[in-house]
């Protein structure tokens, strides 16, 4: 009856010099909430699939992480989101790429796995599937936070490219 859950919120040049004490406290609190969401499922005999979806949804909603609300912005200033989920027993899998209006992209990936014959849906088609499936929608500006606008502006000002910035802003 052993269960186990591990989560991540991204990697990069995350050091005490680049992360404030307040930012660190916020991140730790969000990671704790995500653990609680997954543990509540696993500790009561629930599935690993439901647990990973629940944990990732918490992190998608937290603006500190580069997913869902608080995502890194493309050169055009918009958030286009990617997600995937996979079950180890059946190797069923669902994924979405370049979606713009689903509040929880990981749940859209789950729906692709559960309700479509496909594995990966992308772009406007994936957005349409989300509407068709009745998933919670969000306006594109829901995903955009000032810190990311600033980071994009800094990148443009320094005429860096995505690769450089990726490691700075994760």
């Amino acid at each position: 009856s052993r269960w186990s859950l591990m989560i991540h919120g991204g990697s990069g040049i995350i050091t005490p010099d680049t992360l404030s004490a307040e930012g660190e406290a916020r991140a730790r609190a969000a990671l704790d909430r995500a653990l609680n969401a997954g543990e509540a499922i696993l500790a009561t005999g629930g599935s690993s699939l439901d647990a990973v979806e629940a944990a990732v949804r918490v992190l998608e909603d937290d603006p500190h992480f580069n997913a869902g609300r608080g995502s890194a912005l493309g050169l055009d200033g918009t958030a286009t989101l990617d997600a995937a989920i996979m079950a180890g027993d059946s190797r069923a899998a669902g994924a979405v790429a370049g979606v713009t209006r689903t509040r929880h992209p990981v749940s859209l990936a789950r729906r692709v796995m559960d309700e479509s014959p496909h594995v990966l849906l992308a772009g406007a088609g994936a957005d349409a599937f989300s509407l068709d499936q009745g998933l919670e929608q969000a306006r594109p500006d829901w995903f955009v936070i000032p810190e990311r606008v600033y980071q994009l502006a800094a990148m443009k000002r320094d005429s860096a490219d995505a690769f450089d910035v990726d490691m700075k802003y994760g």
Binding site: R2, H8, I85, A95
Partner: protein, 132 residues
């Protein structure tokens, strides 16, 4: 990028990953997160993996599937397989991290960057949150 891997009481594994990609991306660039076998993979015969880092390198190595294949086909431990595959990513000039849970419930994280937001909990009452 955020992700989770889990093993439930029935012994089944699962993985999930979600991301906004990279700042300043254009031309419809997609990284490894939504690509099954690269940033996200789960197979009860081996392990579940969620990755974060330089998406292009993780794609070219096929990180999730590669870690699982090393465990399944050569009997490597999670730690050995994960370390070796992240070294391949570094060989391509990429850096990042992975979280991995195995069929027996053993979980591990590895990363080649200065930090990774990460946390774990399990039925043995081990609970940890770490960043640096």
């Amino acid at each position: 990028t955020v992700g989770a891997v889990a093993r439930d009481m029935a012994g089944h594994l699962a993985a999930a990953t979600s991301t906004g990609g990279v700042t300043g991306k254009r031309w419809g660039r997609i990284g490894d997160s939504p690509i099954i076998g690269a940033g996200t993979w789960a197979d009860d015969r081996a392990c579940a993996v969620s990755a974060t880092g330089s998406g292009e390198s993780f794609l070219r190595v096929g990180v999730g599937h590669e870690i699982a294949a090393r465990i399944r086909l050569s009997g490597e431990s999670i730690d050995t397989a994960t370390t070796a595959v992240l070294a391949e990513v570094q060989g391509l000039g990429g850096t990042g991290g992975v979280i991995v849970v195995g069929a027996g419930g053993h979980a591990a994280w590895h990363f080649t960057t200065p930090g990774m937001y990460r946390a774990r909990t399990d039925s043995m009452n081990r609970r940890e949150v770490a960043i640096f």
